[in-house]
Symmetry: C2
Subunit: 158 residues, 2 copies
DNA sequence: TATTGTTATACTCTATAACTATA
DNA sequence: TATAGTTATAGAGTATAACAATA
């Protein structure tokens, strides 16, 4: 319509594509783990507790960038199912150290299986080499922005 | 800890990295367009109306995968600012054809500028060639899954 | 009777801040 | 008094379904 402008409406940029594809992948993953009766926040919490056992709820909230009050119901939902455990610290009975139970560990193994199937579904149209290239580029971008590996920035709003 | 297992907890997969990075990029973009007094849904709506002028709200809702009722307040917020316009169809007075006003077009140009700055900020750590490679790979993955270009799949939940 | 857009209602999720128990 | 965790309250955003206007 307007050839005089340098880039007249040539569509959204790469960051938009990245965001759109990321949201799509997140949506599909949400569907998959629903079969395990897990939501994304529950899954993220389970994973981070497994990676950092014995942390207090405050420490966890700080790491996740979420208010501590939000964690209460989230932990409850997992503890009620015997996947997570609160243990009081005898030295300071205010603190609740968090641990994944054996049942939680077993569920995490199934989550990992789901994650691999999910990866294959998302990147099935790429060759193994291309997947490696893509992952390396994404990892570099994530690193450049200081993203904590394994922590979803949208935890605070998912 | 357990070297007998094939891939014992080697961290989240590439799809998780993609989702995390996409959410990060989306968050940063949200901050940028806040300076233009726009939210992501408003921006998406403005863009899709510009790309498909004269559509009815029902048609738009179908394209976006959102209930028509949700569009009402969204359109109101843009129409009140003179960025979007409802025009009744004289042949069928139930339909409201949607158009971007000149003021809306001007704002969209500023959104495009913001988008380019955003792209540069997100991918600043990559060379021009690497950015091209990344974009091409992302575009292929998006295409393989039938994502509508320019439409954020999370529109229905943003 | 069917369809477009609108409004009303209820539900989910979240952050803020008050509260309790421990220190 | 200060801190860890919890509960209470209120706000934003959403989908569902009822509604009014038009066909």
């Amino acid at each position: 319509m307007d050839a005089t402008r340098s880039r007249p409406e040539d569509g959204p940029g790469s960051a938009f594509l990245l965001a759109a594809l990321g949201a799509y992948a997140a949506g599909r993953f949400t569907e998959r783990i629903a079969a395990l009766d897990l939501t994304p926040p529950q899954t993220g919490l389970l994973r981070i507790v497994a990676a950092n056992p014995g942390q207090s709820q405050q420490a966890l909230a700080g790491r996740l960038g979420t208010p501590p009050s939000r964690l209460v119901a989230l932990i409850d939902s997992l503890a009620d199912r015997g996947l997570l455990e609160r243990r009081r610290n005898p030295d300071d009975r205010r603190l609740h150290a968090l641990y994944v139970t054996p049942a939680g560990e077993r569920l995490l193994h199934r989550v990992a299986q789901v994650g691999r199937a999910h990866d294959d579904a998302i990147f099935g149209s790429l060759t193994t080499d291309e997947r490696g290239t893509l992952r390396a580029l994404l990892a570099r971008v994530a690193d450049a922005h200081g993203l904590t590996p394994g922590v979803h920035p949208g935890f605070r709003r998912l």
